[in-house]
Symmetry: D2
Subunit: 302 residues, 4 copies
């Protein structure tokens, strides 16, 4: 594996820009990448949950990743999500990620047939991780979506034996005790990317130093402030920033969650991400008006 | 839609033959199809859950379906499962199913992002059903695997409006009251294919006349007997046959369920279906010995 | 244990009559018992789920049971439900059931701390069953409410060793394969009381001969017809009766389920069962009008 | 309501001392209370989950509470848990708590029939809260055990209208965003008692200032240190203390969880709490040896 510097700070889980028909729209990514660079992102996480990976074809996922790497122009890291229910597809995507020189890659567990032990999870991921041996690999732990809730500390320890490029986990789970255990393993051998933006402060308290999420896309100043304040020991400011984040998360929940609501916010702030692909339903005009009002009420959009 | 005769009796959910590395092995399908014809199958259900659809690439699914249609030689119907988390993939598979002249097709709900209303489910399926307008379409309802548990009677009624080729449901759910409702709709307008082999007799009692499942592959005589006895009003014989089926289902549960355990039984009875693809783990030699003993104990394999 | 004849046919899970304040109202039980006798009930199941056991004090449960035994006047059996999260309370209720000469008793699993193995369930129930050694004891299996889903066949086999009066199970679960296994154990050693009225025909197909449920209270003719038709091999009539039952179950689901909706129907047919106790919410006047209309639409109440 | 000072720091959820037969053993409580006083507890939470409330009779719960109030000798607050599936029992316990001069009381939601809206939860609790109008009332939110997961912020706002003595919530849930919302309501109108000891630091980061849990009983120095360090902005020390807490929580999970494993630890440190009541199974001698070794390995028990 190539030398790799640990992530610190914000990593945006990017939305996949689409047009009115739901076809992917690569032309937006240049502008999107500029915004990410200006916002101080340490990296972007491409074609994850927020990027609607499960709703995309293999070809689409490759095209989107390649465009992000080009548009990023090395201003921030590009992490490819290659997870799939089909191990062969994940392997193909991993090979591609290495070919197009992504900085790292990650995969969630398969969610139809589910691995039932840490060993099975390691066995499933090993050929995937080995398909891009030069790139650092993160296990994307997200039981709420995959239904796979296996011990992440055990996975990291066991997985390291067959996947030397396993460097950590994107931890999107509210079991913060387990997250604390991951951070402690072998004196901090593994990176733990905090995955729930609305409780980032809790992750920082436990020792995380980086977060991956969808709300970083449109609230970078708030989170940058939160990271900085916490680092300086100014818990009050950090907490105030977290409350701002909670306010906006409450709104996106009202509009169907981080993918659907978040994509609508991107459109409102001028990055034309279009609609989501079914089964995530399109956003109606009425909803845009109502969302705008809700956002104005909390001082966002000003 | 072309004229289509309703299914009656047994439909085998086929296993996808693979080799020792987990690559698909089309060469076995001729022999497999002969067995299905000899066993009196009304049809086969290709690349469904038993066929490991979620673990296959689009190309593999097309190749397997095409081979089954060729090998079937019109001795029984071939129903293509085209369900996918990616609507575009499902549409492509539906078009292909019509091109290669499958007799019918079916799709399960997407299981990562989940439709949250009957309307959303109808919207998701409509372009898929319309991609093969000449073929009858079944909704494959299986909440235990997809996590989508929406009213099937409502789906059938609402879905018929935009999908004229919607003819029924493969009902793999233990909510038999709902199954009863589906059977009653508009005096039996829709076909309801019973999906839990181990309680087929309950489905027949409620009015089903066809079943789709994986154990039909290797227990055809038992189920044929069950269907016949029930039709003649001989509940005692039907119940005895059901108990035989329950005995074998208890065994496959012990060996990891219908896909893993069932594929092993196929290998034991001489149809070389090979191993499963990860995350369904391979069957060990010890397990084969133990499975053989268990099957001999109940008089199967004699 | 005293000689005990197996149950056959309908057993009504009785509602607990209350007044407008939610206090229990014993005075109604005489009339209620007459209705049960006229309806051809084989027995009543007192202070179970339908009877709001968990919402009653120990003293109330004793008073209600004693009244039912008096009012029954041996015209039908009285089965006492003694289940509780508190083992001591269940033991006290069991002793009382034997004192007041109930015909049998039953208990559901504790639902706060949950037994995690068959052995633990046997250990929990043994002192309860032994508190009324002269009475037959049924295990009331209902995972949807208790969250305890342990193998009932194993429980029956293991439990019989320490509870000689264990005679069977009230099986309120949609795992009909497991129900089939219970019926087969040792050539039918154990009684299996079918617990989901809306799919009784499925239970009969698998071999059950008695059912316990709340809709027997107000639909006795339909179910009697169903039992009789099935026995005579007239599946069509049985299925038609089941559809009538499904129609009414759909209505009670609309009004909050079998306890809330069912109690309201009792009031409409002239057995003053009053309101439910919180957290089951009282039935409003508007709801009564609407429920009446719904019932008239399907020909009930005429 | 009488004047009431907010809780700050540690509140031990007490174990209910029992003898070898599982009968309650009040004689231990004097010594137990001395330990709590010496350990710097701000209060004790009596007959909650840790105290096995659901496994106790009404009479036992009253006796235990009365003894704690006597033994506490006003050295720390005594909070009575009065929650029950039976509203009448909860009301009786609330009246008793006021009579014996508990400092405050709390109730969890009923877990058999479950309130399905905030309004229903408010309606269920109102008569209970009103049964002890002089005492502050906390809603004990614990979805993992009760299965009731309703919006706590909405409950606090709505509930305050009919329960003037509603002062806050014991928040035992890993939805820390919601916990953050509760803390913010009306500029901190409500107390939020953090309920998951193993992630206390996360709760403090969000703004909590008190915690209720079972591990405070035997790890007071660690948690006191954690509270103090966090207050002084020394996150590193706080985090180190949290890791100590996580180490012991991992051990109690291994031995069946906080109630079963925790009670065994109490016995090891010299407070004779005896066994648990079924369905929580007794602790074997082998287990005690093994638990002792595990605790010694992490430096506890020295």
């Amino acid at each position: 594996m190539k030398h790799y510097q640990r992530l610190e700070g914000m990593v945006a889980a990017t939305f996949t820009p689409m047009d009115a028909r739901g076809d992917i729209n690569l032309s937006v990514i240049d502008k999107y990448a500029d915004l990410m660079a200006e916002s101080g992102m340490a990296g972007v996480f491409v074609c994850g949950t927020t990027g609607e990976s499960h709703s995309l074809t293999t070809g689409e996922r490759k095209a989107i990743l390649a465009q992000w790497i080009k548009s990023a122009r090395k201003r921030f890291k590009v992490i490819a999500h290659v997870g799939s229910n089909c191990q062969l597809e994940a392997m193909e995507l991993a090979r591609h990620a290495q070919e197009v020189e992504a900085d790292a890659f990650a995969a969630m567990a398969p969610c139809f047939f589910k691995p039932s032990s840490v060993k099975d999870l390691v066995d499933f991921f090993t050929p995937i991780a080995q398909s891009a041996p030069d790139l650092p690999f993160y296990y994307y732990n997200m039981p709420s979506m995959t239904g796979v809730s296996l011990s992440v500390p055990s996975f990291l320890i066991e997985g390291k034996k067959t996947m030397p490029n396993l460097v950590g986990t994107k931890f999107t789970h509210n079991n913060l005790m387990e997250m604390g255990e991951c951070l402690e393993l072998n004196n901090g051998e593994f990176e733990v990317l905090h995955g729930y933006d609305e409780i980032l402060i809790a992750g920082l308290a436990l020792g995380a130093v980086a977060g991956v999420g969808s709300t970083y896309n449109y609230l970078p100043a708030v989170y940058q402030n939160l990271f900085d304040a916490f680092k300086e020991g100014d818990i009050c400011t950090a907490r105030r920033m977290q409350q701002k984040s909670i306010e906006i998360v409450k709104i996106i929940i009202k509009y169907g969650g981080g993918v659907r609501g978040g994509k609508a916010i991107m459109n409102l702030i001028g990055v034309d991400c279009g609609r989501c692909r079914l089964p995530v339903t399109p956003f109606g005009d009425d909803e845009y008006s109502s969302l705008k009002r809700d956002l104005e009420k909390i001082g966002f959009l000003n």
